[in-house]
């Protein structure tokens, strides 16, 4: 377990986060997806959601959120709790400590019942309700077409690989899940998960960490789990995989997965991506949207840990060929060094200003540090911003030569 305090006096609140990371696998994914929503139903101290809610409200409206994120080849269960700084309260109270205690209670001390053999199991009613809720979540994944299309592209590009797994799992897996085997699974999950704790705010690390470790100990949780690292390198396709999916849609979503097989630095690749498709001055925005008026939206995002760049556009369905041609032309242009000073500076400016905003938000700060922790890198924003200033057009051209179109996905009518 790693306990990190990020001291900051910028905020009125202290943000407490507990992350549990496990390798993403087909046989675990559906069960894992049930865990966060099940845990919020009750603990052995606060046995129902109502009791948890009352507790949170009484803690000056402490807010809690839960989720599952796919991060490279891991899935991460994320729990956030935000409380007001102790010294801004109208009474004397150690709210941050209370908050961490509550998180430990929710994550590591779930509400349990006994079966006929006296064995501990989850509450049947809670499990069944959360199974129903998960079905609704999975069924509604098509509601947001742009997100659906982006997820589907990833599934197609990484078919058969961990990263291609849908994070909420499959409805058919749910049938065999019950209050007994899900509890067994939960215990295993806790034993293999990498536990990371972050607290952002004006707090004292030593006392909080000590208390946290003691609470875990008293619940019999071993903070040093048997976590195993994974990192599968995708083999880029020599001929792009083309997928057309039909649905009742009025707008088409064209999503392209690019593989970046490069020895260039992270900063150079980020600059390449920014020139290609980040912000209003990027090539994709300017050429696909502004000049050709083909798209409502056009841009790209770099997924560093998977060496992937995703291009996203929302277009008229009949404009598929035209849009694809313009996108390919942009990729080609960068390769040929057709980058203006203005494009370069605008990209630099955008990355610099976005990076400087990271310490201005507790959540962004934690996301930044957690990514570094998971990849054994030293956080150093200043050096990063410094390196961004040094990237030259030649570096970007070099990156461009290592980029290949891997998957073309089109959601259409």
């Amino acid at each position: 377990m790693k306990f990190t305090v990020l001291n900051s006096n910028k905020f009125k609140t202290n943000l407490c986060c507990v992350f549990l990371a496990v390798p993403l696998t087909e046989d675990r994914v559906t069960k894992t997806a049930l865990i966060p929503s099940l845990l919020r139903r009750g603990t052995n101290n606060l046995t129902s959601q109502l009791e948890i809610n009352k507790r949170l409200e009484e803690m000056y409206g402490a807010s809690i959120s839960y989720g599952i994120e796919k991060e490279a080849d891991y899935e991460v269960l994320k729990f956030y709790l935000e409380v007001i700084n102790d010294d801004l309260l109208p009474e004397k109270r150690a709210l941050t400590k209370e908050g961490l205690d509550l998180l430990v209670d929710i994550i590591f001390n779930p509400y349990l019942e006994k079966d006929s053999n006296g064995e501990s199991i989850f509450c049947k009613q809670y499990v069944n309700q959360e199974k129903d809720n998960l079905i609704k979540v999975i069924e509604s994944r098509k509601d947001n077409k742009a997100n659906y299309a982006a997820n589907r592209m990833v599934e197609e590009m990484y078919q058969g690989e961990a990263y291609g797994i849908y994070k909420f799992g499959k409805i058919e897996d749910l049938k065999s899940i019950n209050e007994k085997n899900l509890y067994e699974f939960y215990k295993e999950l806790i034993s293999i998960a990498k536990i990371s704790v972050y607290v952002v705010g004006d707090v004292n690390k030593d006392s909080l960490e000590g208390d946290f470790r003691k609470s875990l100990e008293s619940l019999g949780v071993n903070p040093e789990s048997s976590f195993e690292k994974v990192n599968m390198r995708h083999t880029p396709r020599t001929n792009p995989k083309v997928v057309n999916e039909k649905m009742d849609v009025s707008q088409g979503n064209l999503i392209i997965g690019l593989d970046v097989n490069s020895n260039k630095t992270n900063e150079e690749i980020i600059m390449y991506n920014a020139i290609l498709g980040t912000g209003a001055n990027s090539k994709l925005f300017q050429n696909v949207r502004e000049k050709a008026s083909l798209a409502y939206s056009a841009g790209s995002k770099y997924f560093r840990r998977k060496n992937m760049i995703m291009i996203k556009t929302g277009i008229e369905i009949s404009n598929y060929e035209k849009t694809l041609a313009i996108i390919e032309e942009q990729l080609e242009n960068i390769k040929n060094g057709e980058i203006t000073e203005q494009e370069l500076e605008s990209a630099r400016q955008l990355i610099t200003s976005t990076s400087k905003l990271i310490p201005e938000s507790g959540e962004n700060l934690v996301t930044y540090y957690y990514d570094k922790e998971m990849n054994d890198e030293e956080p150093d924003l200043e050096k990063f911003i410094d390196n961004i200033q040094k990237v030259k057009i030649e570096d970007i051209v070099d990156v461009a030569k290592d980029v290949s179109v891997d998957t073309i996905y089109f959601l259409r009518d």
């Binding site: 009125k12 809610n53 000056y60 007001i84 209003a280």
Partner: protein, 419 residues
């Protein structure tokens, strides 16, 4: 310059009224690098009928004109779009129009003053030609179509139409394709000259600033304008009763959406009422209430209800929204709860703590602070008063407001269900 302070949460706001009657508020944040500025005119979609202070003549303008004007502000005579200029400076820039104001804003760590140059330049220099006004019509028409297809916009506007017969809050912010066809460069200039006078604007600046210094910088960039008399807005007479008790429509949604609207009076201390209503609805329908738990366990709702008390120059109402397979049953339960349940002292105290925490958290980011102060200032309130008002409110006040809202059957239900 006036200074207001809340010692509990250690925040201050500096308020200055300039000689041209423009209001500026500065909230200094010494610890943050990020900066934020928002400048708004008290001109929104509810303002379509007024007396032009320069001619003393009554003017009626097409619905959606405030929003149209916002779109046309960015284009400069040089052909440059100011939004891209601001983005090129590494700033997050934007603009928006609501029912009661139109705002222009940007934020970022660096380049605040170059950004201020650009912001104050484009907002003070309208450039409308027959050609560029015409060009925008198609783009806004597309945007209107987009809102028409958005279930939530439809849900909201139908709720307004249910509550109000004549009140201009029942007009879509962007207008209709028909109404915007009447917008010309002349009508735009007429609105601009009236509503974009500095005396009708509020500016909020948040970040590591010396208040007087940044106010001086703003003043330096203000163009001279002739003083303007009072703008008289003319709002239609609105009957006491609601317009319709139920409006249903079908759209492409999985689960039916609903919004219940409770029409209220517009007199009194509305900010105080807003907080009191917040306490009441949080206690009776919030995630800690029995009613919420019952509805959740019955499978009537899956998530917390969205509840908001909205008010401005010519309206005040509470809306309660959510998704449910049976909206009419939810409405019944909500009305029943309001009628038969009093807020208890325990609920009252707990809700107050929650509101104290929620309000304090607003000060986490310069953007949130800026938006909060601006929205309240447009309505004539100072956000720093919030906790004082919270302390003034007692249990009796909360229960009175509950009965007042419920009585007289002044509520409506808007439903958007699947096809």
């Amino acid at each position: 310059m006036q200074v207001f302070e809340d010692k509990r949460i250690r925040e201050k706001v500096y308020v200055e009224e300039l000689p041209n009657k423009m209001q500026i508020m500065v909230v200094p944040k010494r610890e943050t690098q990020n900066k934020y500025i928002i400048w708004a005119t008290k001109f929104g979609s509810i303002d379509n009928h007024f007396i032009d202070p320069t001619t003393n003549e009554e003017v009626v303008v097409p619905d959606g004109i405030a929003h149209y004007l916002e779109h046309k502000m960015f284009e400069q005579k040089s052909g440059v779009d100011s939004l891209y200029t601001l983005m090129g400076l590494g700033l997050n820039a934007n603009a928006y129009t609501t029912s009661d104001h139109t705002a222009y804003l940007f934020g970022g760590v660096d380049n605040f003053y170059p950004g201020l140059d650009e912001l104050m330049d484009y907002v003070q220099n309208p450039y409308y030609t027959d050609e560029n006004v015409e060009k925008e019509r198609g783009i806004i028409g597309q945007e209107i179509n987009m809102y028409d297809n958005e279930p939530f916009s439809k849900l909201y506007i139908n709720c307004m139409k249910g509550m109000y017969k004549n009140n201009t809050i029942n007009i879509d912010t962007a207008g209709t394709v028909e109404s915007i066809s009447h917008i010309t460069k002349e009508t735009l200039y007429s609105c601009y000259n009236t509503f974009y006078h500095p005396s009708n604007t509020v500016m909020v600046i948040v970040g590591d600033f010396e208040p007087q210094e940044v106010i001086n910088e703003v003043q330096k960039r203000l163009l001279p304008r002739e003083p303007l008399g009072e703008i008289k807005r003319i709002y239609p007479e609105e009957p006491w009763e609601i317009n319709e008790s139920l409006i249903e429509t079908s759209m492409d949604v999985n689960m039916p959406m609903f919004m219940i609207g409770f029409k209220d009076e517009i007199t009194g201390d509305k900010l105080k009422d807003q907080i009191a209503v917040e306490i009441a609805v949080n206690s009776l329908l919030g995630k800690c209430s029995e009613t919420y738990q019952d509805m959740y366990n019955e499978g009537l709702i899956m998530t917390e209800l969205e509840m908001e008390y909205e008010f401005s120059r010519n309206f005040a109402h509470l809306i309660i929204a959510g998704e449910s397979k049976n909206p009419k049953r939810v409405e019944e339960i909500v009305l029943n709860t309001f009628e038969n349940k009093e807020v208890t002292l325990e609920e009252f105290e707990r809700s107050k703590k929650k509101i104290y925490g929620d309000y304090t958290s607003e000060y986490n980011s310069v953007d949130e602070i800026g938006r909060m102060f601006l929205q309240d200032a447009v309505k004539g309130y100072n956000s720093i008063e919030y906790l004082n008002k919270l302390e003034e409110i007692d249990l009796e006040y909360v229960n009175n407001i509950r009965t007042k809202l419920l009585n007289h059957n002044r509520h409506t239900l808007s439903i958007v269900k699947g096809k």
